[in-house]
Symmetry: C2
Subunit: 84 residues, 2 copies
């Protein structure tokens, strides 16, 4: 199980932090034309529901990972609405 | 627990299918300039690791959700490399 936990943790770090370079790029360039509004609307809603799921299960890993992702994906969504 | 399972399932459907409009937009426009290569490189790697985690745990929901996401996010990555 230790290998699985290591792989799962690395997966969580990667899929969570992956949005940082996208937030940075949009913030820097103010260009969002090629980014799909529908994708970020659905994705951010989905992450908010994952967060609710984590709260209902009192699962800290789900809560923390989805708080960070909500902040990052939500930032892309807001910047898309602002600059799009 | 039924409410939590409903919310978790809806969350999984939304965060998985969210990439469909992005794949469609890039496929249609061939424009990927505003999409971060680093984001999709990290995200696709992370999803591949989630898939490995699902296989190690023999968890079909994790396997199925991450197979679909890997296909979709991987498509955006390939189109970014092709048209970027």
């Amino acid at each position: 199980m230790q290998v699985a936990e290591l792989i799962g943790s690395l997966a969580a770090v990667l899929t969570t932090t992956a949005f940082i370079p996208q937030v940075w790029q949009v913030w820097r360039t103010k260009h969002t034309k090629d980014i799909s509004l529908a994708m970020y609307a659905f994705f951010t809603t989905g992450v908010a529901l994952w967060l609710a799921y984590g709260v209902l299960l009192a699962s800290w890993p789900i809560i923390i990972a989805n708080c960070i992702t909500l902040l990052l994906a939500g930032s892309v969504l807001i910047l898309k609405l602002k600059f799009g």
